[in-house]
Symmetry: C2
Subunit: 249 residues, 2 copies
């Protein structure tokens, strides 16, 4: 069942007739535990495609591409962004293992943003028409899809509030930490897979401001940051700073 040793064969999964749900796929757990009969699980399994690896800087989809599929990140980090006609990049989100990209494309049948790999990225790809059709027969799967979509609305609302640089940065670090923790990674020590500029474009700051906030947080003893490695040394205070931003989550 470990997907670590699954080879990155593109196209349909390479394990013939067995069920091999990868542990990171957001759908697997929810559906497995619902106790569906084997033929439905097989249906779900068949419409999964394991794709990758995408290398740093490679695009998974681009703005305007026709929408066909959503994808769960198995490993690596994906950044979604749009570029406005003055060349400013607006980062919409970072997607860690277990998280699903492409959900905001459903309404227009086109991807409304670009998705790019920040490091080496493996994905589980689900044809959306197929998974939606299957969901009509698996209420648990439908429920899971509704939840994922609803969750993303909340995530976006987070960013949109009127908060200071410190508050937004603290919220960013805390959510990263929680998301890593949810996947079994260390909540207090992790790698920032994105550049300072990416963080800045996500938090609506200048990259210089990101640097300065990091430094100030470090001088205050809240974090220890060295290049891309970061350690949260005082979660209490970070959570306190972040609490207003995260309240609506």
């Amino acid at each position: 069942m470990s997907d670590a040793n699954r080879r990155p064969t593109p196209g349909i999964a390479d394990d013939g007739d067995e069920f091999h749900f990868c542990s990171t796929c957001a759908f697997s757990a929810a559906c497995l535990e619902s106790g569906y009969d084997k033929s439905l699980l097989r249906d779900l399994h068949v419409l999964v495609e394991h794709i990758g690896p995408f290398h740093e800087g490679e695009h998974i989809f681009r703005e305007g591409d026709p929408f066909t599929a959503i994808a769960a990140v198995r490993s690596g980090t994906v950044k979604t962004y749009v570029t406005d006609h003055e060349g400013r990049e607006h980062v919409q989100g970072f997607f860690l293992p277990g998280e699903v990209i492409g959900l905001n494309a459903i309404s227009q049948a086109r991807y409304p943003s670009n998705a790019v790999a920040l490091d080496s990225v493996m994905l589980c790809r689900f044809s959306f028409p197929n998974i939606a059709a299957l969901a009509t027969r698996m209420p648990g799967l439908q429920q899971q899809l509704f939840k994922l979509l609803s969750l993303d609305i909340g995530k976006a609302a987070l960013l949109s509030g009127n908060f200071s640089a410190d508050e937004r940065m603290a919220a960013f670090l805390i959510t990263l930490s929680r998301r890593y923790a949810a996947r079994g990674f260390s909540p207090n020590r992790f790698l920032l897979t994105m550049t300072r500029t990416d963080i800045a474009n996500y938090l609506r700051l200048a990259s210089e401001t990101v640097s300065r906030v990091f430094r100030r947080f470090q001088d205050d003893g809240m974090i220890q940051v060295e290049r891309r490695e970061i350690e949260l040394k005082d979660r209490k205070r970070l959570e306190k700073l972040a609490e207003d931003v995260l309240r609506s989550t």
Copy 2:
């Protein structure tokens, strides 16, 4: 939902056995045109509850209330917002006739924000468990729900970008205009049902800034605004200003 406010004629609508979809309900059109058989349409109809009116300042639900239902606005305007522990109000959205509130509550089973009527508001209330169950039998309805959810993700992303006061204000006016137009109201002359402060809290501005931007837009001949009445006099330029904000929509 529904404080002490549920009106007489609670429950099933007052038109006996006929189907009487209200024209504003976001689901009706999509489902009607899909040509489902009569019994399914009846199911959909039965789980609708028409509630209201809510008067200006009355709450429809509050942050933390258990989530049971989504609701389509039939008339009036609903504002959703959260208050942080410094008392700052963060407006998350304004909902016009035809639009659906409560979608972001699915993932946590609680409403993550407050919803308040800005004027006299009538709603169609749909029990979420019931409509989700029905959706498994009506792919068109499921599709509609997915679309609505996905749309809201995009809407939230709009706000979260890094744009100037002018850009955000122009985008706000253009989207309002488009949404009114979609419901058959005049796209160029409409009423701002919210206060300047509400607009400010939505656009992450101070209310003084909202005033000043209105004045500047008016002096530039792009709009004519008098108290709550506004007329868009130069859509071209407004759309141009808004285009970067709206690109990802």
